[in-house]
Protein backbone atom coordinates (compact mmCIF):
# COMPACT_ATOMS: atom_id res chain seq x y z
CA UNK A 1 0.00 0.00 0.00
CA UNK A 2 2.77 2.43 1.04
CA UNK A 3 4.67 1.44 -2.07
CA UNK A 4 1.62 2.19 -4.18
CA UNK A 5 1.30 5.63 -2.59
CA UNK A 6 4.98 6.42 -2.98
CA UNK A 7 5.32 5.06 -6.50
CA UNK A 8 4.47 8.31 -8.35
CA UNK A 9 7.17 10.17 -6.41
CA UNK A 10 9.89 8.32 -8.27
CA UNK A 11 9.05 10.49 -11.27
CA UNK A 12 10.54 13.98 -11.27
CA UNK A 13 7.57 15.47 -13.15
CA UNK A 14 5.27 14.20 -10.38
CA UNK A 15 7.46 15.54 -7.58
CA UNK A 16 7.60 18.94 -9.29
CA UNK A 17 3.90 18.86 -10.11
CA UNK A 18 2.88 17.92 -6.57
CA UNK A 19 5.10 20.58 -5.00
CA UNK A 20 3.63 23.18 -7.37
CA UNK A 21 0.06 21.95 -6.78
CA UNK A 22 0.44 22.08 -2.97
CA UNK A 23 1.94 25.58 -3.12
CA UNK A 24 -0.61 26.87 -5.66
CA UNK A 25 -3.48 25.25 -3.76
CA UNK A 26 -2.39 26.85 -0.47
CA UNK A 27 -1.82 30.18 -2.19
CA UNK A 28 -5.25 30.18 -3.83
CA UNK A 29 -6.81 29.10 -0.51
CA UNK A 30 -5.13 31.98 1.31
CA UNK A 31 -6.00 34.73 -1.14
CA UNK A 32 -9.43 33.20 -1.80
CA UNK A 33 -10.57 34.15 1.72
CA UNK A 34 -10.30 37.84 0.84
CA UNK A 35 -11.88 37.27 -2.57
CA UNK A 36 -14.91 35.53 -1.09
CA UNK A 37 -15.36 38.01 1.77
CA UNK A 38 -15.12 40.96 -0.62
CA UNK A 39 -17.99 39.45 -2.62
CA UNK A 40 -15.73 39.14 -5.68
CA UNK A 41 -15.83 35.37 -6.20
CA UNK A 42 -16.14 35.88 -9.93
CA UNK A 43 -12.85 37.81 -10.10
CA UNK A 44 -10.73 34.64 -10.14
CA UNK A 45 -12.62 33.38 -13.15
CA UNK A 46 -12.50 36.73 -14.91
CA UNK A 47 -8.95 37.68 -14.09
CA UNK A 48 -7.53 34.35 -15.14
CA UNK A 49 -9.20 34.89 -18.52
CA UNK A 50 -7.77 38.41 -18.64
CA UNK A 51 -4.31 37.00 -17.92
CA UNK A 52 -4.79 34.57 -20.80
CA UNK A 53 -5.12 37.64 -23.06
CA UNK A 54 -1.93 39.00 -21.55
CA UNK A 55 -0.13 35.70 -22.10
CA UNK A 56 -1.01 35.74 -25.79
CA UNK A 57 0.11 39.34 -26.18
CA UNK A 58 3.37 38.50 -24.37
CA UNK A 59 3.95 35.65 -26.80
CA UNK A 60 3.33 37.82 -29.85
CA UNK A 61 5.46 40.68 -28.53
CA UNK A 62 8.14 38.21 -27.38
CA UNK A 63 8.00 39.47 -23.80
CA UNK A 64 8.74 37.31 -20.78
CA UNK A 65 5.54 35.33 -20.08
CA UNK A 66 5.44 35.94 -16.31
CA UNK A 67 6.20 39.64 -16.68
CA UNK A 68 3.81 40.29 -19.56
CA UNK A 69 0.89 38.22 -18.31
CA UNK A 70 1.45 39.40 -14.72
CA UNK A 71 1.44 43.05 -15.69
CA UNK A 72 -1.67 42.51 -17.83
CA UNK A 73 -3.47 40.84 -14.92
CA UNK A 74 -2.37 43.52 -12.47
CA UNK A 75 -3.64 46.32 -14.73
CA UNK A 76 -6.94 44.45 -15.26
CA UNK A 77 -7.37 44.04 -11.47
CA UNK A 78 -6.61 47.72 -10.91
CA UNK A 79 -9.07 48.75 -13.63
CA UNK A 80 -11.77 46.63 -11.97
CA UNK A 81 -11.06 48.22 -8.57
CA UNK A 82 -11.07 51.75 -9.94
CA UNK A 83 -14.23 51.16 -11.99
CA UNK A 84 -16.07 49.91 -8.89
CA UNK A 85 -14.66 52.71 -6.71
CA UNK A 86 -15.32 55.60 -9.09
CA UNK A 87 -18.51 54.66 -10.94
CA UNK A 88 -21.95 53.26 -10.27
CA UNK A 89 -20.94 49.93 -11.85
CA UNK A 90 -20.93 46.90 -9.52
CA UNK A 91 -17.96 44.55 -9.14
CA UNK A 92 -19.54 41.67 -11.10
CA UNK A 93 -20.32 43.89 -14.08
CA UNK A 94 -16.87 45.53 -14.03
CA UNK A 95 -15.21 42.10 -13.91
CA UNK A 96 -17.44 40.92 -16.76
CA UNK A 97 -16.54 43.81 -19.05
CA UNK A 98 -12.81 44.24 -18.37
CA UNK A 99 -11.74 40.63 -18.16
CA UNK A 100 -13.86 39.42 -21.06
CA UNK A 101 -12.49 42.20 -23.26
CA UNK A 102 -8.99 41.13 -22.29
CA UNK A 103 -9.75 37.45 -23.01
CA UNK A 104 -11.29 38.46 -26.34
CA UNK A 105 -8.05 40.26 -27.20
CA UNK A 106 -6.19 36.98 -26.69
CA UNK A 107 -8.70 35.01 -28.76
CA UNK A 108 -8.58 37.64 -31.54
CA UNK A 109 -4.79 37.44 -31.71
CA UNK A 110 -4.88 33.63 -31.72
CA UNK A 111 -7.44 33.60 -34.53
CA UNK A 112 -5.26 36.01 -36.50
CA UNK A 113 -2.10 33.92 -35.96
CA UNK A 114 -3.50 30.37 -35.94
CA UNK A 115 -0.08 28.77 -36.02
CA UNK A 116 0.39 28.89 -32.22
CA UNK A 117 -3.08 27.88 -31.05
CA UNK A 118 -1.85 24.61 -29.55
CA UNK A 119 0.70 26.38 -27.34
CA UNK A 120 -2.07 27.77 -25.16
CA UNK A 121 -3.79 24.50 -24.30
CA UNK A 122 -1.69 24.31 -21.12
CA UNK A 123 -2.72 27.82 -20.08
CA UNK A 124 -6.38 26.99 -20.59
CA UNK A 125 -6.53 23.57 -18.90
CA UNK A 126 -3.31 23.29 -16.88
CA UNK A 127 -0.43 21.00 -17.63
CA UNK A 128 1.22 19.43 -14.62
CA UNK A 129 3.56 17.38 -16.84
CA UNK A 130 5.28 20.52 -17.98
CA UNK A 131 6.14 21.83 -14.48
CA UNK A 132 9.90 22.26 -14.20
CA UNK A 133 12.00 22.81 -11.07
CA UNK A 134 12.26 26.46 -12.12
CA UNK A 135 8.45 26.70 -12.18
CA UNK A 136 8.30 25.25 -8.66
CA UNK A 137 10.79 27.87 -7.49
CA UNK A 138 8.70 30.62 -9.09
CA UNK A 139 5.49 29.33 -7.47
CA UNK A 140 7.30 29.09 -4.11
CA UNK A 141 8.61 32.65 -4.53
CA UNK A 142 5.16 34.02 -5.38
CA UNK A 143 3.64 32.09 -2.45
CA UNK A 144 6.20 33.63 -0.08
CA UNK A 145 5.65 37.10 -1.54
CA UNK A 146 1.85 36.92 -1.26
CA UNK A 147 2.00 35.39 2.23
CA UNK A 148 4.43 38.16 3.22
CA UNK A 149 2.13 40.90 1.87
CA UNK A 150 -0.85 39.41 3.71
CA UNK A 151 1.17 38.98 6.91
CA UNK A 152 2.40 42.58 6.96
CA UNK A 153 -0.93 44.08 5.86
CA UNK A 154 -3.03 41.70 7.92
CA UNK A 155 -4.79 44.34 10.06
CA UNK A 156 -5.44 47.04 7.42
CA UNK A 157 -6.39 44.36 4.88
CA UNK A 158 -8.90 42.84 7.28
CA UNK A 159 -10.43 46.27 8.00
CA UNK A 160 -10.54 47.17 4.28
CA UNK A 161 -12.20 43.83 3.48
CA UNK A 162 -14.73 44.26 6.30
CA UNK A 163 -15.68 47.86 5.47
CA UNK A 164 -13.52 49.82 3.06
CA UNK A 165 -15.30 53.17 3.56
CA UNK A 166 -15.01 53.11 7.33
CA UNK A 167 -11.41 51.85 7.20
CA UNK A 168 -10.54 54.98 5.21
CA UNK A 169 -12.02 57.21 7.92
CA UNK A 170 -9.78 55.47 10.47
CA UNK A 171 -6.74 56.45 8.41
CA UNK A 172 -6.18 53.15 6.55
CA UNK A 173 -4.71 53.83 3.08
CA UNK A 174 -7.39 51.76 1.35
CA UNK A 175 -6.28 52.69 -2.20
CA UNK A 176 -2.79 51.35 -1.48
CA UNK A 177 -4.19 48.25 0.16
CA UNK A 178 -6.39 47.57 -2.87
CA UNK A 179 -3.47 48.11 -5.24
CA UNK A 180 -1.19 45.73 -3.34
CA UNK A 181 -3.98 43.19 -3.13
CA UNK A 182 -4.52 43.41 -6.89
CA UNK A 183 -0.79 42.81 -7.36
CA UNK A 184 -0.86 39.81 -5.02
CA UNK A 185 -3.92 38.37 -6.77
CA UNK A 186 -2.41 38.76 -10.25
CA UNK A 187 0.82 37.12 -9.04
CA UNK A 188 -1.12 34.23 -7.46
CA UNK A 189 -3.09 33.64 -10.65
CA UNK A 190 0.00 33.68 -12.86
CA UNK A 191 1.75 31.23 -10.55
CA UNK A 192 -1.25 28.88 -10.46
CA UNK A 193 -2.18 29.07 -14.12
CA UNK A 194 0.14 26.32 -15.37
CA UNK A 195 -1.04 23.88 -12.70
CA UNK A 196 -4.76 24.55 -12.71
CA UNK A 197 -5.38 26.31 -15.97
CA UNK A 198 -7.45 29.41 -16.70
CA UNK A 199 -10.69 27.47 -16.72
CA UNK A 200 -10.31 25.88 -13.25
CA UNK A 201 -8.46 28.53 -11.25
CA UNK A 202 -11.65 30.28 -10.06
CA UNK A 203 -12.77 27.12 -8.26
CA UNK A 204 -9.42 26.77 -6.49
CA UNK A 205 -9.80 30.36 -5.23
CA UNK A 206 -13.37 30.04 -4.03
CA UNK A 207 -13.98 26.45 -2.84
CA UNK A 208 -11.41 26.20 0.01
CA UNK A 209 -12.51 29.63 1.33
CA UNK A 210 -16.24 28.84 1.37
CA UNK A 211 -15.56 25.41 2.88
CA UNK A 212 -13.53 27.06 5.66
CA UNK A 213 -16.33 29.64 6.13
CA UNK A 214 -18.78 26.80 6.80
CA UNK A 215 -16.44 25.45 9.48
CA UNK A 216 -15.64 28.60 11.46
CA UNK A 217 -16.88 32.05 12.47
CA UNK A 218 -13.36 33.31 13.19
CA UNK A 219 -11.41 35.17 10.52
CA UNK A 220 -8.01 33.90 11.74
CA UNK A 221 -9.17 30.29 11.70
CA UNK A 222 -10.79 30.77 8.28
CA UNK A 223 -7.44 31.93 6.86
CA UNK A 224 -5.59 28.92 8.29
CA UNK A 225 -8.28 26.40 7.32
CA UNK A 226 -8.67 27.69 3.79
CA UNK A 227 -4.90 27.65 3.17
CA UNK A 228 -4.60 24.14 4.61
CA UNK A 229 -7.59 22.86 2.58
CA UNK A 230 -6.14 24.35 -0.60
CA UNK A 231 -2.72 22.77 0.00
CA UNK A 232 -4.20 19.38 0.96
CA UNK A 233 -6.41 19.42 -2.12
CA UNK A 234 -3.32 20.06 -4.23
CA UNK A 235 -1.61 17.01 -2.74
CA UNK A 236 -4.52 14.55 -2.81
CA UNK A 237 -5.74 15.87 -6.15
CA UNK A 238 -2.35 15.05 -7.64
CA UNK A 239 -2.29 11.58 -6.09
CA UNK A 240 -5.77 10.78 -7.39
CA UNK A 241 -4.91 12.28 -10.75
CA UNK A 242 -1.95 9.88 -11.08
CA UNK A 243 -3.78 6.75 -9.94
CA UNK A 244 -7.05 7.41 -11.77
CA UNK A 245 -5.38 8.88 -14.85
CA UNK A 246 -7.47 12.06 -14.78
CA UNK A 247 -6.27 15.59 -15.64
CA UNK A 248 -4.58 17.08 -12.54
CA UNK A 249 -6.35 20.49 -12.53
CA UNK A 250 -9.76 18.83 -12.83
CA UNK A 251 -8.93 16.29 -10.10
CA UNK A 252 -7.78 19.01 -7.66
CA UNK A 253 -10.99 20.97 -8.20
CA UNK A 254 -13.16 17.83 -7.95
CA UNK A 255 -11.44 16.91 -4.67
CA UNK A 256 -12.15 20.41 -3.32
CA UNK A 257 -15.77 20.23 -4.50
CA UNK A 258 -16.20 16.87 -2.72
CA UNK A 259 -14.78 18.31 0.51
CA UNK A 260 -17.16 21.25 0.21
CA UNK A 261 -20.18 19.00 -0.39
CA UNK A 262 -19.25 16.83 2.62
CA UNK A 263 -18.72 19.89 4.86
CA UNK A 264 -22.03 21.38 3.73
CA UNK A 265 -23.87 18.12 4.46
CA UNK A 266 -22.26 17.67 7.90
CA UNK A 267 -22.76 21.29 9.04
CA UNK A 268 -26.38 21.25 7.80
CA UNK A 269 -27.06 18.05 9.75
CA UNK A 270 -25.40 19.55 12.85
CA UNK A 271 -27.54 22.69 12.58
CA UNK A 272 -30.70 20.61 12.20
CA UNK A 273 -29.75 18.48 15.20
CA UNK A 274 -29.08 21.51 17.41
CA UNK A 275 -32.41 23.09 16.35
CA UNK A 276 -34.20 19.85 17.24
CA UNK A 277 -32.44 19.80 20.60
CA UNK A 278 -33.53 23.39 21.23
CA UNK A 279 -37.17 22.55 20.41
CA UNK A 280 -37.02 19.54 22.76
CA UNK A 281 -35.82 21.74 25.64
CA UNK A 282 -38.40 24.43 24.90
Amino acid sequence: MIELLLRPFQFEFFRNGTAAAVLAGGLCGLIGVYIVLRGMSYIGHGLSHAIFGGAVVSFVMEWNFYLGAGLWGFVAALLINQTVRRTKINADAAIGVITTASFATGVAIISRYRRFTRSFDAALFGNILGVTTQDVIIVAGVTLLVAGIIFVLYKPLLFTTFDSQVAKVYGVQTEWIDTLFALALAAALIASMQILGVTLIAAALVIPAITARLLTDSFNRMILLSTALGALSGFFGMMLSFHLDIASGAMIVLFQATLFALTLAITSLQKRASRRLLHTHV
Binding site: K155, D217, S218
Partner: protein, 276 residues
Protein backbone atom coordinates in the same frame (compact mmCIF):
# COMPACT_ATOMS: atom_id res chain seq x y z
CA UNK B 1 -10.42 78.56 19.80
CA UNK B 2 -9.87 76.97 16.35
CA UNK B 3 -12.79 74.78 15.14
CA UNK B 4 -11.92 71.08 14.90
CA UNK B 5 -14.16 70.79 11.86
CA UNK B 6 -15.37 73.52 9.57
CA UNK B 7 -17.61 73.32 6.50
CA UNK B 8 -17.66 76.43 4.35
CA UNK B 9 -20.45 76.80 1.78
CA UNK B 10 -20.36 73.07 0.94
CA UNK B 11 -22.58 71.75 -1.85
CA UNK B 12 -22.87 68.09 -2.84
CA UNK B 13 -25.07 66.00 -5.10
CA UNK B 14 -25.34 62.47 -6.40
CA UNK B 15 -25.29 63.04 -10.17
CA UNK B 16 -27.36 66.08 -11.09
CA UNK B 17 -29.53 65.94 -7.97
CA UNK B 18 -28.24 68.21 -5.20
CA UNK B 19 -28.44 66.61 -1.76
CA UNK B 20 -26.80 69.38 0.23
CA UNK B 21 -26.62 73.04 -0.69
CA UNK B 22 -24.54 75.84 0.82
CA UNK B 23 -23.78 74.13 4.11
CA UNK B 24 -21.71 76.23 6.50
CA UNK B 25 -21.12 75.01 10.03
CA UNK B 26 -18.31 74.38 12.46
CA UNK B 27 -17.69 72.47 15.66
CA UNK B 28 -15.20 73.39 18.37
CA UNK B 29 -13.21 70.85 20.41
CA UNK B 30 -15.45 69.25 23.04
CA UNK B 31 -18.66 70.25 21.30
CA UNK B 32 -21.50 67.71 21.23
CA UNK B 33 -23.84 68.16 18.25
CA UNK B 34 -26.67 66.28 16.55
CA UNK B 35 -27.88 66.44 12.96
CA UNK B 36 -31.65 65.98 12.76
CA UNK B 37 -33.98 65.89 9.80
CA UNK B 38 -36.21 63.58 7.78
CA UNK B 39 -34.92 60.65 5.71
CA UNK B 40 -33.24 61.98 2.59
CA UNK B 41 -32.40 65.32 4.23
CA UNK B 42 -28.69 64.65 3.76
CA UNK B 43 -27.65 63.83 7.37
CA UNK B 44 -25.53 60.78 6.50
CA UNK B 45 -24.18 62.53 3.40
CA UNK B 46 -23.09 65.50 5.52
CA UNK B 47 -21.42 63.15 7.99
CA UNK B 48 -19.60 61.35 5.15
CA UNK B 49 -18.46 64.66 3.67
CA UNK B 50 -17.09 65.76 7.03
CA UNK B 51 -15.24 62.44 7.38
CA UNK B 52 -13.73 62.48 3.91
CA UNK B 53 -15.69 59.49 2.57
CA UNK B 54 -17.30 61.85 0.04
CA UNK B 55 -15.78 64.89 -1.67
CA UNK B 56 -17.81 68.10 -1.92
CA UNK B 57 -18.76 69.45 -5.34
CA UNK B 58 -18.25 72.99 -4.07
CA UNK B 59 -17.02 74.58 -0.88
CA UNK B 60 -14.28 73.69 1.57
CA UNK B 61 -13.94 71.38 4.53
CA UNK B 62 -11.18 72.01 7.07
CA UNK B 63 -10.11 69.79 9.93
CA UNK B 64 -8.32 71.56 12.73
CA UNK B 65 -7.81 74.56 10.42
CA UNK B 66 -6.17 72.51 7.64
CA UNK B 67 -7.45 71.12 4.34
CA UNK B 68 -9.01 67.71 4.94
CA UNK B 69 -6.53 65.75 2.81
CA UNK B 70 -3.44 67.04 4.60
CA UNK B 71 -1.57 64.34 6.47
CA UNK B 72 -1.55 65.97 9.89
CA UNK B 73 -5.13 65.80 11.00
CA UNK B 74 -7.05 65.06 14.17
CA UNK B 75 -7.81 61.45 15.02
CA UNK B 76 -11.28 60.62 13.73
CA UNK B 77 -13.50 57.68 14.57
CA UNK B 78 -16.74 56.72 12.94
CA UNK B 79 -19.61 54.50 14.04
CA UNK B 80 -21.64 53.60 10.92
CA UNK B 81 -25.30 52.66 10.82
CA UNK B 82 -25.74 49.09 12.08
CA UNK B 83 -27.73 48.20 8.99
CA UNK B 84 -24.64 48.82 6.83
CA UNK B 85 -22.63 46.14 8.66
CA UNK B 86 -22.05 42.71 7.07
CA UNK B 87 -23.18 40.52 9.98
CA UNK B 88 -22.09 37.31 8.26
CA UNK B 89 -18.47 38.43 8.09
CA UNK B 90 -16.43 36.01 10.22
CA UNK B 91 -15.19 38.35 12.96
CA UNK B 92 -15.41 38.32 16.72
CA UNK B 93 -16.03 41.33 18.95
CA UNK B 94 -12.33 41.78 19.75
CA UNK B 95 -11.33 41.53 16.08
CA UNK B 96 -13.76 44.32 15.21
CA UNK B 97 -12.53 46.52 18.05
CA UNK B 98 -8.87 45.93 17.13
CA UNK B 99 -9.67 47.21 13.62
CA UNK B 100 -9.72 50.67 15.17
CA UNK B 101 -5.96 50.32 15.73
CA UNK B 102 -5.23 49.05 12.18
CA UNK B 103 -3.40 52.21 11.21
CA UNK B 104 -1.41 52.85 14.35
CA UNK B 105 -0.29 49.38 15.48
CA UNK B 106 2.80 47.47 14.30
CA UNK B 107 3.23 44.99 11.44
CA UNK B 108 2.54 41.86 13.49
CA UNK B 109 -0.92 40.45 12.83
CA UNK B 110 -1.54 39.89 16.52
CA UNK B 111 -2.12 42.70 19.06
CA UNK B 112 0.51 43.77 21.59
CA UNK B 113 0.05 43.42 25.37
CA UNK B 114 -0.66 47.17 25.57
CA UNK B 115 -3.32 46.89 22.86
CA UNK B 116 -4.91 43.92 24.66
CA UNK B 117 -5.07 45.93 27.89
CA UNK B 118 -6.64 48.86 26.04
CA UNK B 119 -9.19 46.53 24.46
CA UNK B 120 -10.18 45.05 27.78
CA UNK B 121 -10.46 48.47 29.37
CA UNK B 122 -12.75 49.83 26.61
CA UNK B 123 -14.90 46.68 26.54
CA UNK B 124 -15.28 46.76 30.33
CA UNK B 125 -16.17 50.46 30.21
CA UNK B 126 -18.99 49.58 27.80
CA UNK B 127 -19.96 46.47 29.83
CA UNK B 128 -19.24 44.01 27.00
CA UNK B 129 -15.91 42.65 28.30
CA UNK B 130 -17.36 39.14 28.60
CA UNK B 131 -18.34 39.11 24.91
CA UNK B 132 -14.83 39.59 23.46
CA UNK B 133 -14.68 36.16 21.79
CA UNK B 134 -18.27 36.12 20.52
CA UNK B 135 -19.18 36.50 16.84
CA UNK B 136 -20.74 39.92 16.20
CA UNK B 137 -23.92 38.35 14.79
CA UNK B 138 -24.62 36.59 18.09
CA UNK B 139 -25.22 39.82 20.07
CA UNK B 140 -28.26 41.95 20.81
CA UNK B 141 -28.74 45.27 18.99
CA UNK B 142 -27.52 47.25 22.00
CA UNK B 143 -24.42 45.07 22.38
CA UNK B 144 -23.67 45.37 18.65
CA UNK B 145 -23.90 49.16 18.90
CA UNK B 146 -21.47 49.12 21.82
CA UNK B 147 -18.99 46.96 19.86
CA UNK B 148 -18.73 49.61 17.16
CA UNK B 149 -18.58 52.33 19.80
CA UNK B 150 -15.70 50.41 21.41
CA UNK B 151 -13.87 50.32 18.06
CA UNK B 152 -14.31 54.08 17.85
CA UNK B 153 -13.20 54.76 21.42
CA UNK B 154 -10.10 52.53 21.43
CA UNK B 155 -8.39 55.10 19.17
CA UNK B 156 -9.11 57.89 21.73
CA UNK B 157 -10.34 60.15 18.91
CA UNK B 158 -10.45 63.95 18.80
CA UNK B 159 -13.60 63.75 16.67
CA UNK B 160 -16.21 61.01 16.96
CA UNK B 161 -18.94 60.75 14.31
CA UNK B 162 -21.91 58.41 14.78
CA UNK B 163 -24.60 57.61 12.24
CA UNK B 164 -27.89 56.82 13.97
CA UNK B 165 -26.33 55.44 17.18
CA UNK B 166 -29.73 55.07 18.86
CA UNK B 167 -31.54 53.33 15.99
CA UNK B 168 -32.59 49.75 16.62
CA UNK B 169 -31.70 49.67 20.31
CA UNK B 170 -33.93 49.82 23.36
CA UNK B 171 -34.70 53.09 25.13
CA UNK B 172 -32.54 52.38 28.18
CA UNK B 173 -29.47 51.46 26.11
CA UNK B 174 -30.02 54.53 23.92
CA UNK B 175 -30.15 56.70 27.05
CA UNK B 176 -26.93 55.12 28.33
CA UNK B 177 -25.14 55.62 25.00
CA UNK B 178 -26.15 59.29 24.81
CA UNK B 179 -25.26 59.84 28.47
CA UNK B 180 -21.81 58.35 27.85
CA UNK B 181 -21.29 60.50 24.75
CA UNK B 182 -22.16 63.57 26.83
CA UNK B 183 -19.59 62.49 29.39
CA UNK B 184 -16.93 62.03 26.67
CA UNK B 185 -17.61 65.47 25.22
CA UNK B 186 -17.15 66.99 28.68
CA UNK B 187 -13.67 65.45 28.60
CA UNK B 188 -12.81 67.20 25.34
CA UNK B 189 -13.99 64.81 22.63
CA UNK B 190 -15.92 66.46 19.79
CA UNK B 191 -19.01 64.46 18.89
CA UNK B 192 -21.26 64.73 15.86
CA UNK B 193 -24.14 62.31 15.44
CA UNK B 194 -27.24 61.90 13.32
CA UNK B 195 -30.55 60.90 14.84
CA UNK B 196 -34.26 60.69 14.18
CA UNK B 197 -35.01 60.85 17.90
CA UNK B 198 -35.70 64.53 18.53
CA UNK B 199 -36.57 64.04 22.20
CA UNK B 200 -33.34 62.18 22.93
CA UNK B 201 -31.43 64.92 21.12
CA UNK B 202 -33.30 67.61 23.11
CA UNK B 203 -32.54 65.86 26.40
CA UNK B 204 -28.86 64.97 25.84
CA UNK B 205 -27.31 67.02 23.06
CA UNK B 206 -26.50 70.68 23.71
CA UNK B 207 -26.25 71.71 20.02
CA UNK B 208 -28.63 70.58 17.28
CA UNK B 209 -28.64 71.21 13.55
CA UNK B 210 -31.93 70.90 11.63
CA UNK B 211 -31.19 69.75 8.12
CA UNK B 212 -33.38 69.58 5.05
CA UNK B 213 -30.85 69.65 2.22
CA UNK B 214 -29.87 73.03 3.69
CA UNK B 215 -29.34 74.02 7.30
CA UNK B 216 -32.73 75.20 8.52
CA UNK B 217 -31.53 76.19 11.98
CA UNK B 218 -28.74 75.38 14.42
CA UNK B 219 -28.25 76.13 18.07
CA UNK B 220 -29.41 74.92 21.49
CA UNK B 221 -32.43 72.53 21.28
CA UNK B 222 -34.71 74.92 23.19
CA UNK B 223 -34.04 77.61 20.56
CA UNK B 224 -34.02 75.38 17.48
CA UNK B 225 -36.87 72.95 18.17
CA UNK B 226 -39.70 75.37 17.48
CA UNK B 227 -42.84 74.56 15.54
CA UNK B 228 -41.68 76.84 12.74
CA UNK B 229 -38.23 75.27 12.35
CA UNK B 230 -39.58 71.73 12.60
CA UNK B 231 -42.28 72.56 10.07
CA UNK B 232 -39.62 73.73 7.62
CA UNK B 233 -37.49 70.67 8.35
CA UNK B 234 -40.16 67.95 8.22
CA UNK B 235 -42.74 69.53 5.91
CA UNK B 236 -45.48 69.09 8.48
CA UNK B 237 -46.59 70.65 11.73
CA UNK B 238 -45.17 69.04 14.84
CA UNK B 239 -46.32 69.46 18.38
CA UNK B 240 -43.71 71.04 20.66
CA UNK B 241 -44.42 70.99 24.38
CA UNK B 242 -42.33 72.93 26.88
CA UNK B 243 -42.84 72.35 30.55
CA UNK B 244 -40.71 72.81 33.65
CA UNK B 245 -37.63 73.49 31.54
CA UNK B 246 -38.14 70.33 29.50
CA UNK B 247 -38.96 70.04 25.84
CA UNK B 248 -40.97 67.33 24.09
CA UNK B 249 -41.62 66.97 20.39
CA UNK B 250 -44.37 64.89 18.92
CA UNK B 251 -42.28 62.86 16.49
CA UNK B 252 -44.69 62.32 13.60
CA UNK B 253 -45.71 65.46 11.72
CA UNK B 254 -49.44 66.03 12.36
CA UNK B 255 -51.55 66.30 9.21
CA UNK B 256 -53.85 68.98 10.68
CA UNK B 257 -51.09 71.01 12.30
CA UNK B 258 -50.19 72.08 15.84
CA UNK B 259 -49.02 75.29 17.39
CA UNK B 260 -45.89 75.47 19.47
CA UNK B 261 -47.36 75.11 22.97
CA UNK B 262 -45.62 77.28 25.55
CA UNK B 263 -46.39 76.36 28.27
CA UNK B 264 -48.82 73.46 28.39
CA UNK B 265 -51.66 74.86 30.55
CA UNK B 266 -52.80 71.51 31.97
CA UNK B 267 -50.07 68.99 32.80
CA UNK B 268 -50.70 65.68 31.08
CA UNK B 269 -53.07 67.13 28.54
CA UNK B 270 -52.17 68.24 25.09
CA UNK B 271 -54.62 70.80 23.77
CA UNK B 272 -54.37 70.30 20.01
CA UNK B 273 -55.14 73.42 18.02
CA UNK B 274 -55.63 73.43 14.34
CA UNK B 275 -53.38 75.77 12.48
CA UNK B 276 -55.05 78.28 10.25
Amino acid sequence: MKPIIELDNVTFGYGATPVLEHISMHLHPGQFAALVGPSGAGKTTLLKLALGILTPGEGQIRLDGRARDEHSRPTISYVPQLESVDWNFPVTVEQVVFMGLARSSGVWPWPSKLERDRLQSVLDQLEIGHLARRHIRDLSGGQQQRVFLARALITEPDLLALDEPTAGIDVRTAENVLHMLGHLSQHGMTILLTTHDLNAAAAHVPWVICLKNKIVAQGAPEDVFTAENLNKTYDGDMLVIRQDGMLFVQQKPHPHGYHDLLPNPVPGEIPAQKQA
